[in-house]
Amino acid sequence: MKKKVLTVDDSRTIRNMLLVTLNNAGFETIQAEDGVEGLEVLEDCNPDVIVTDINMPRLDGFGFIEGVRRNEKYRAIPILVLTTESDAEKKNRARQAGATGWIVKPFDPTKLIDAIERVTA
């Protein structure tokens, strides 16, 4: 069975990259454009892992992660955050919000798949 990944990112570029990378690696990919949409689709898609950006309109990554963790059903789902190298502070905040791990941008397909493998069974 294919593993399901929910990606949340407002950048069309990054969304497409995630899609291509994840599909090539044999994942099923569901995409949302911001935190609000992420929480909306979460209920239906029941993913195995979530990859989210931090800076997003409407509901940012921190809020989204908190929203996911508040949901009993998804308290334990692995959530990976897309961050940049310089974002030490954001990384910390993401972890406090409940992020499982992070993927440092610039976007690198190998790093992404490695990180997903690391947090999923």
């Binding site: 949901n71 334990a76 692995p78 992020a99």
Partner: protein, 761 residues
């Protein structure tokens, strides 16, 4: 989809982000202090940087990075976005746009400019932040309280009668070299409850660890309380692993990268060969652990099912203790957590608290080609409907009202469909207006004038083709307005005006057209100078008696320019005549109103779409032609005594005491060889390129109609004197007259025969 396509998407997105960036900065400049505005601006730059990084566009990344850092200072309230700061930021946005274009199209940017801005941005970031290092709230993350119970009532693990299972590597596939010369590391790993709260899973970490080399693993369950006291959310185990690997301690540590804050972790290199002995000294009572069992489908032992259902995901560890298996994170565990009544509420609350954000309209992106195909089809539908109506009228069905009613409804529906389809291509003028902001900044810099651009109605929509073609004439008009219209600040002060000049750009819809106004509060048109210039250039006679309006309109004459020196702005060899022509090419009109000392207002009136045109259907030498309505000033019925011969071939018509050349359309188009008798026809007074009026002679007027424009070039080639074709209600093709070309031909420039055979070899 391949990388090139994604790159194309990236550049499209950059354009949107740049527009977002600029409009955000402008809002800030206007005093908007909504945190969401700052966030949006930050996000735009951040997004560009993110994508650029993925494509290795280093110049773009490094500039965006500096920009982002400074924006972050604004975002966190460390830098007040005052006018000076925003000036730098707006310029930076321009450079970011240049760098983006450069990355897409090649070419180079003004490096001195971008370096200067990098310095200015950095100065802003540092200047307002005494110490960059300590400022970014690098507050140590409050270490989550270790959840290990202080003193569990009694270690019960062994009392539960668990059977240790021999540890096996078989399931991990790799054949690990079993050479004892490999360095060995002892890893003591004690997860805290928070580890699970963040979706990490101790067993997965251990699995990863085991991939590094040969590993033995022990689990200390001393801390595990009795089932009754067991807190499902807590972590009770301490794992001890001994791993032999040549990958180094860093690799071992890297496994725990995501977990480092949520566990107690000790990693130490072991002396060779004593890896197995150290556990004697260990205070733990270890249970060798079968990791492989974790990754088989677990079968909950009978009797424990109830427990498993009661306890949720995070205490998988505890369940493991009870059953020797651990649930797969996120799957079974999630299923078993059926007690989630709070979930939707929580999500909803999150969404609600997230934003009192306006509900964003749903959008999809569609290939322009598809839209155009739809528009073409609807165009055909319109024609077909017209043909059907016409044939019903012709075969008069004696008032079978049901047919007529049906036809009327069809006509109504067709029109609605056409409007809706046209609306798909409609786009707000916003991006063009935003580009003008940059033009204003640049020209203000060059001229040393202080200018403020105010835009209104930027969400007014118009066909995308019109928008695309609007930028150039608008840019030129804005340059003109700032360069010629506005006075220097000192002069403005002396005149009692605000030293900062205002240029106001407005868009609105009016009776099926879009009206764009460009107003400045400058000096207005210097009519004396314009008049003198026109006399000098032989545009008017020295004693010509012209109204103010007529003088103002002289600036649209070809080659007219009042700029004493050709500056590098309004210069570029382009005059307002070119602006006028490009507006007319769009089926639009331009007019000017000027008030000396108070400024000028240029008004553009443009069709909402280029796919249809309002035309006057006329007959010329038995042929049906369409004349664009925008070109026609008035129509008149010539009387014999108003026609005057002039020279061998020319004829003039007198209209209210002025003489206007008559243009015989049929003759110019070679539809007939004999000049028509003007008295038997109709004259269309048209305004042509260069502002000159001509009376076009046609045989008769059939009526006014909105027609769908069809390209002649698609299957044939350009035809001199003809702008395009259309299909009328009788199903036949009618040609649309190119008024400018016909007028030019009448002035003795023969319609260029542009090798009509070009398409035909």
């Amino acid at each position: 989809m391949d990388m090139n396509e994604i790159k194309e998407i990236f550049f499209q997105e950059c354009e949107e982000q740049l527009a977002e960036l600029e409009s955000g900065l402008l809002r800030l400049n206007d005093g908007d202090r909504d945190p969401e505005t700052v966030n949006a601006v930050f996000r735009a730059v951040h997004s560009i940087k993110g994508g650029a990084g993925a494509f290795g566009l280093d110049d773009l990344v490094s500039f965006a990075h500096v920009f982002e850092t400074t924006l972050d200072c604004v975002r966190s309230g460390r830098l007040e976005p005052n006018q000076d700061v925003l000036k730098v930021m707006l310029k930076s946005a321009d450079v970011l746009a240049d760098l983006t274009n450069c990355a897409r199209d090649g070419g180079s940017v003004d490096e001195a400019r971008s370096k200067q801005l990098i310095r200015e941005l950095e100065a802003l970031a540092h200047g307002e932040m005494p110490s960059h290092a300590e400022a970014p709230a690098a507050k140590p993350v409050a270490a989550p309280k270790a959840a290990a119970p202080a003193a569990p009532a009694a270690p019960v693990a062994n009392d539960q009668g668990f059977v240790p299972v021999a540890f096996s590597f078989d399931d991990f596939g790799d054949d690990m070299p079993v050479e004892s010369v490999l360095p060995a590391y002892e890893v003591i790993f004690k997860p805290k409850a928070d580890l699970y709260r963040k979706g990490n899973e101790a067993t997965l970490l251990l699995r990863d660890l085991s991939r590094l080399g040969e590993m033995s693993i022990y689990c200390n369950m001393d801390a595990l309380p009795s089932l009754e006291e067991l807190q499902p959310e807590n972590a009770y185990f301490t794992w001890r692993a001994v791993i032999k690997t040549d990958k180094g301690e860093d690799a071992v540590r890297a496994v725990f990268e995501f977990a480092e804050w949520d566990c107690d972790l000790e990693i130490k290199a072991l002396e060779e060969d004593n890896g197995e002995q150290s556990d004697d000294e260990s205070p733990m009572t270890p249970v060798p652990f079968d990791l492989s069992a974790l990754f088989d489908e677990p079968e909950p032992p009978v009797g424990l099912v109830e427990e498993e259902e009661r306890i949720a995901a995070s205490e998988a560890e505890a369940a493991a203790a009870a059953s020797n298996v651990v649930q797969l994170p996120g799957t079974k565990a999630a299923d078993s957590a059926k007690s989630a009544p709070a979930a939707p509420a929580a999500a909803a609350a999150a969404a609600a608290s997230a934003a009192a954000a306006a509900p964003a309209a749903q959008t999809i992106r569609v290939d322009l080609d598809r839209v155009d195909r739809l528009i073409n089809l609807v165009g055909e539908l319109v024609i077909n409907q017209a043909m059907l109506s016409q044939s019903v009228i012709e075969n008069d069905t004696n008032g079978t009202s049901s047919i007529n009613m049906g036809l009327e409804e069809l006509q109504q529906l067709t029109r609605e469909i056409q409007d809706s389809v046209m609306a798909i291509r409609a786009q707000p003028v916003k991006p063009v207006f935003q580009r003008m902001a940059r033009t204003v900044r640049e020209i203000a810099d060059i001229t040393g004038k202080s200018v403020r651009l105010v835009t209104e109605g930027e969400n007014t929509e118009v066909d995308k083709t019109v928008i695309d073609k609007l930028a150039e004439p608008l840019t030129h008009m804005i340059r003109n307005a700032v360069d010629h219209g506005l006075e220097m600040p000192e002069k403005r002060v002396a005149l009692g005006k605000n030293p900062e000049g205002t240029v106001r750009l407005t868009a609105k819809h009016r009776s099926g057209r879009i009206i764009i106004e460009l107003a400045d509060d400058g000096q207005g048109i210097n009519r004396e100078r314009v008049r003198q210039k026109a006399i000098d250039n032989d545009l008017i006679a020295a004693d010509a008696n012209l109204s103010d309006e007529e003088i103002d309109n002289l600036i649209f004459h070809a080659g007219f320019s009042t700029a004493e020196k050709v500056s590098d702005l309004s210069g570029r060899g382009v005059g307002m005549d070119v602006v006028k022509r490009s507006i007319q090419a769009l089926g639009g009109r331009i007019s000017i109103q000027s008030k000396p000392g108070h400024g000028s207002v240029f008004t553009l009136s443009l069709p909402l779409t280029l796919a249809v045109l309002d035309g006057m259907v006329v007959t010329v030498a038995n042929q049906t032609l369409v004349v664009p309505l925008t070109a026609i000033v008035e129509t008149l019925q010539p009387e014999a005594n108003s026609i005057h011969s002039f020279g061998a071939n020319q004829r003039l018509i007198s209209i209210r005491n002025s003489f206007c050349p008559l243009v015989d359309v049929g003759k110019i188009l070679n539809f007939r060889y004999q000049a028509a008798n003007p008295v038997e026809g109709v004259a269309l007074l048209v305004e042509s390129e260069g502002g000159g009026q001509r009376a076009l002679m046609v045989d008769a007027i059939q009526g006014q109609r909105q027609v769908v424009i069809k390209s002649l070039e698609a299957n044939y080639t350009h035809v001199p004197g003809i702008a395009a074709a259309t299909i009328l209600g009788d199903g036949r093709v009618a040609l649309i007259l190119d008024v400018d070309a016909v007028v030019a031909a009448s002035r003795g420039q023969p319609l260029r025969h542009e090798n009509a055979l070009a398409a035909f070899g």
